[in-house]
């Protein structure tokens, strides 16, 4: 297996990021450079506060870099305006969060449909796509349930359906199993693995959990804002 032969889908070059708290500047990421190949399942690991979420947010276009470039496909997203970035995210990124972040007043199927409202799909097409996505995560029987009526694992599956329904270029997941029990976590990880293996989805997953990381094809470590440069190929 030679990753070098695959065309990188994400190219990160000399990326710096710091936060400003009052007059204080808090540096978070230093000179990050790496590629993510198309079809890669990347696990981003590191201790708490090392900058994993920050890096993921930058790649997903919900935060702005201080310096450096991030190419996703052919687009340098660091040059996009706020509005362009929003449109780019709607098109190109699927999001999975630790706390599912479903809209509580929307039913499962409506939650999955939500991102499709920014597309030109007709009402019936939107519903059809949402139902297919829910079926793919095995929740077609819970379509009309509200998030509050579902377990954590089920909610996270709905969130995965929402993330894939627009067929995005990359999937980003921040601690997707962080709030789940072992069994549900395994279920979610298997599902992500399948998305990667069977559908060729590029996945970038932040995790603390070595067990979760072991499902990925590539592991990278962040430590105090520095990237540990030898990415470990997963032995599996």
């Amino acid at each position: 297996m030679m990753t070098e032969q695959k065309k990188p889908i994400v190219e990160i070059k000399n990326l710096y990021k710091s936060y400003h708290r009052a007059s204080l500047v808090v540096p978070v990421l230093y000179d990050i450079t790496f590629d993510i190949a198309e079809g890669e399942f990347l696990a981003l690991m590191g201790p708490s506060g090392s900058g994993k979420t920050t890096l993921l947010n930058l790649i997903a276009g919900i935060d702005k870099v201080d310096e450096g470039t991030i190419h996703v496909g052919d687009v340098d997203i660091t040059t996009l305006s706020e509005t362009e970035l929003a449109a780019w995210r709607a098109n190109s990124v699927g999001f999975i969060f630790q706390f599912y972040n479903l809209i509580p007043v929307l039913k499962a199927v409506e939650n999955v449909e939500l991102p499709l409202h920014l597309t030109t799909l007709s009402k019936s097409k939107r519903r059809e796509h949402a139902e297919i996505a829910l079926a793919m995560v095995g929740l077609d029987h819970r379509m009309d349930h509200y998030p509050g009526e579902m377990s954590g694992g089920e909610q996270q599956r709905v969130a995965i359906a929402r993330a894939i329904v627009t067929d995005p270029t990359i999937l980003v997941a921040d601690e997707p199993t962080g709030d789940l029990d072992r069994v549900s976590a395994e279920e979610i990880l298997s599902m992500m693995e399948r998305l990667n293996r069977d559908m060729g989805k590029t996945i970038i997953m932040v995790t603390h959990d070595p067990r979760a990381a072991s499902r990925a094809s590539v592991m990278r470590h962040l430590d105090k804002g520095y990237l540990n440069h030898d990415a470990a190929q997963n032995p599996l």
């Binding site: 947010n57 919900i62 935060d63 995210r89 706390f99 929307l106 409506e110 939500l114 709030d179």
Partner: protein, 385 residues
């Protein structure tokens, strides 16, 4: 549309909080509506006044009379079409709590000047033919259960003694803004009695009521009338009926101003309450708005969500308040008929209710919206969990 679905469900998501807020708005709008109605009923007499009627009174004060001999002179002034006159009688029916306005007037001309008082032709004839006859407003007659032919005794305050009248006619209003609580009888009946008991007070009237040919000559005609009696024993002051009626309200102007202020304070308080509710609600939804922005929804969508939610809440409360205003005003009007002969919820009051609700929604939504739009997505997402 999806946004509408979300904002409607958001508005009623926390049932207790939404119901209490809506209840608060409903009560505030109800109070506001009733207070505005009190204010407009203060001005009801002014509104009902005709632009082509003038009132002439003694220049010194309304309590001093004018000689009846002015009638002919006034009639000759250019622009005058018809002259009537009368006195404030100030009689009491059984006891003082039963107050209602009662006058003696020259009946033929008086009712000709007031086409808004509708009298049945047969009753009117009977009234004109009977010197002890009287006319009462429909509401007044209903209040005391008077029927045509009843003898009504008023105790005089200005003119001592008990005065018996026979109710010959009951007038109704051309529309519901007409005061139907007044009582009229023949000026000659009073004058004859006064002539016998105290001749010096006879042949005098409290006011002249004058109809002009066209409303636009009213001002000039008023000046001409007053000029006619300049340097005579009793100088006159002539003004439009509207100005004359306004003069009575001027006395209670301070009260009207106070009521006006209270009505706005009520709105101000509920505005603070709704703003606080909206701030709480949107803070709880910081994560929802962040996720929507993450998915690619923009500032416009967030604005629609928050303003829409505020509008749903305030307009629901406002609508309930407006609906309740009508029965409340009816009960209020019945209880206070003595003070407010015309107590009607005006269209303008409803417009003000709606405007107040819209302003409440707008001001309550604006700061949370600004906050939700400005917060960085990453920070918004961190608030979750």
């Amino acid at each position: 549309m999806m946004l509408l679905k979300i904002l409607f469900r958001n508005a009623f998501h926390n049932k207790l909080r939404s119901s209490l807020t809506i209840l608060g708005i409903a009560v505030a709008i109800l109070a506001f509506g009733l207070l505005r109605t009190v204010i407009s009923s203060f001005y009801a007499g002014v509104e009902a006044a005709s632009a082509s009627r003038l009132v002439t009174r003694n220049a010194i004060s309304i309590i001093f009379p004018l000689p009846i001999s002015y009638t002919e002179k006034i009639r000759q002034v250019e622009g005058v079409k018809m002259v009537s006159y009368g006195n404030w009688f100030g009689g009491i029916y059984i006891n003082e709590k039963n107050f209602f306005p009662n006058f003696c007037v020259e009946p033929r001309t008086y009712f000709a000047l007031y086409p808004e008082f509708i009298l049945e032709e047969r009753q009117k004839k009977a009234f004109l033919a009977d010197r002890k006859g009287a006319v009462a407003g429909q509401k007044l007659a209903a209040k005391f259960g008077w029927k045509i032919g009843d003898t009504i005794t008023l105790k005089g305050t200005i003119y001592p003694g008990n005065w018996d009248f026979i109710l010959r006619a009951i007038y109704t209003g051309r529309d519901n803004t007409v005061d139907q609580t007044q009582f009229f009888f023949h000026w000659t009946y009073l004058n004859e009695a006064v002539k016998k008991r105290a001749p010096v007070f006879a042949e005098q009237v409290g006011f002249y009521m004058i109809g002009v040919t066209r409303p636009d000559v009213a001002a000039d005609t008023a000046v001409m009338i007053d000029k006619t009696f300049k340097n005579s024993l009793a100088e006159t002051l002539t003004e439009t009926e509207k100005a004359f009626n306004l003069g009575f309200i001027a006395m209670s102007e301070a009260i009207v101003t106070a009521i006006q202020m209270v009505s706005f304070i009520v709105i101000f308080i509920i505005m603070a309450v709704v703003a606080n509710t909206m701030a709480m609600t949107t803070r709880e939804r910081t994560g929802d708005y962040a996720i929507m922005k993450t998915l690619g929804f923009g500032a416009k969508d967030i604005t629609i969500l928050i303003f829409g939610e505020a509008l749903v809440i305030t307009l629901t409360g406002g609508l309930i308040g407006i609906i309740l205003t009508f029965p409340a005003a009816r009960i209020f009007g019945q209880e206070l008929a003595t003070y407010f002969p015309v107590f009607l919820v005006s269209a303008q009051t409803i417009y003000m209710d709606v405007a107040a609700a819209l302003i409440i929604a707008f001001l309550a939504a604006i700061i949370p919206t600004r906050h939700a739009i400005r917060i960085r997505i990453a920070d918004g997402l961190r608030r979750i969990g």
